[in-house]
Symmetry: C2
């Protein structure tokens, strides 16, 4: 979605596949955990298991970043953490604004992992005058009227939209006009943005619908395949593949923000 947009001929050299980029955060998390346990090196097999992907895929992914491993040994954990962080642009600080401080917006503001890795909540913005000044997660909520000024003053380039669907496009337009070039959209709307602006969407409704689809199919198979014959595998296996399919929503925004 919106992300993989190839503005320009899609650079050949710096060309890290979008699917790979989407997995780098996973690897980074697994590596961070290893780092905290002071594990010095990991093999592609071990790391792949921790990240829930297959080892060939992981090696191929890393090959796009360069040759950071050592044959016969594996990868140096600290070194990889640094390289991936750098590649993802996490060695710098990204000020983020959250627009729409309702249930979800407040939950996001309280999200601990935010600050943990390169991101900092620079401001909370809401259209409700009654919210203005009220602190959420220790940060005073500001009114939408000042959106442009806030974006500019803080040099914000990443915005999170957690408003109701109806307000999303308008908020998006203002964010973009003010200089934001990356948007994480929690409202169940398809946002229109100029070329060069990336949009990613997160939607509870869509996810549930996709699960329902598979759930329904399972129910059907039971009857058709006749359960009983071929007990089917039940041994625990790593599930998380690489979510190459997630999709946006379908109805109302995840929680009705202010």
């Amino acid at each position: 979605m919106a992300t993989g947009r190839t503005h320009r001929p899609a650079t050949r050299s710096r060309g890290i596949p979008e699917a790979t980029v989407a997995r780098l955060p996973l690897y980074l998390r697994a590596l961070t955990a290893l780092s905290e346990r002071s594990v010095p090196t990991v093999s592609s097999e071990e790391l792949a298991a921790a990240a829930g992907v297959n080892s060939a895929k992981l090696r191929k992914d890393f090959s796009y970043l360069g040759s950071y491993g050592t044959r016969g040994v594996g990868y140096d954990v600290e070194y990889l953490v640094y390289q991936i962080s750098r590649e993802l642009g996490l060695t710098q600080d990204w000020p983020v604004v959250i627009v729409g401080i309702g249930n979800l917006g407040a939950a996001l503001a309280n999200y601990g992992g935010f600050a943990s890795r390169g991101f900092r909540v620079a401001a909370l913005i809401d259209a409700d005058p009654a919210m203005a000044g009220k602190p959420v997660a220790g940060i005073p909520v500001q009114h939408t009227d000042d959106l442009e000024k806030i974006i500019e003053d803080n040099g914000v380039s990443i915005g999170v939209i957690a408003t109701p669907a109806g307000a999303a496009q308008q908020v998006c337009d203002r964010l973009v006009a003010a200089g934001v070039t990356s948007i994480l959209n929690f409202a169940p709307t398809v946002l229109s943005v100029p070329d060069g602006v990336d949009v990613r969407k997160v939607d509870l409704s869509i996810e549930l619908q996709i699960l329902a689809f598979h759930e329904q199919r399972k129910a059907g198979e039971e009857t058709a395949a006749g359960d009983g014959a071929l007990p089917a595998a039940t041994a625990p296996a790593v599930a998380a593949d690489d979510s190459t399919d997630q999709g946006p929503d379908g109805d109302v925004p995840a929680v009705m923000p202010a």
Copy 2:
């Protein structure tokens, strides 16, 4: 991720591509909006624009469901809404439990769109004894001790995990053991599940990291490509493609649920 899992030889006939399934909710939402405006028919071109995808893709997607359109005319909105709903399994009611009623869990419980389309919050579960009995979104929170009973009594097959990362796998195991076969995971953990159980993950941290990657690249291009020559397109264009890349997280769960 976990979803596209092809248990069994991957049925040939009923084989709707995973990428298509992920887009059906998008189409459904666009169609529902048209239906509310009493629009009788739409062309693939119009619907595609509303859903933020390209029309050829939409037509191909629909072709997997059957031939529901009329050449020279388009698609009957009501009919398509029904067909897609049926395909997604939304013509039946899916009881859902949310485990971990912290900031995020509460926000999810309050999510209006939940009930709107086939889903019903059957129960809220939290490990904090102090939460027990307290109503959230009008539903009394129940203690984790009763998890199995709740799942069985309500015939729940879809569970939402909004606990801290540390508790996720354990909760997942219990949900699965009690009969849940589809899980929506908001905790930043790779869940291990038996074959046949679908897991989808939603992670704020991952999404932001992916945006940061592209954001960083944009900054680099500016300098390299030398802005000035070739002003580049700036005309608003539909952004939302089809989120075929979303990924799971990387650090802490979206908001620290109880």
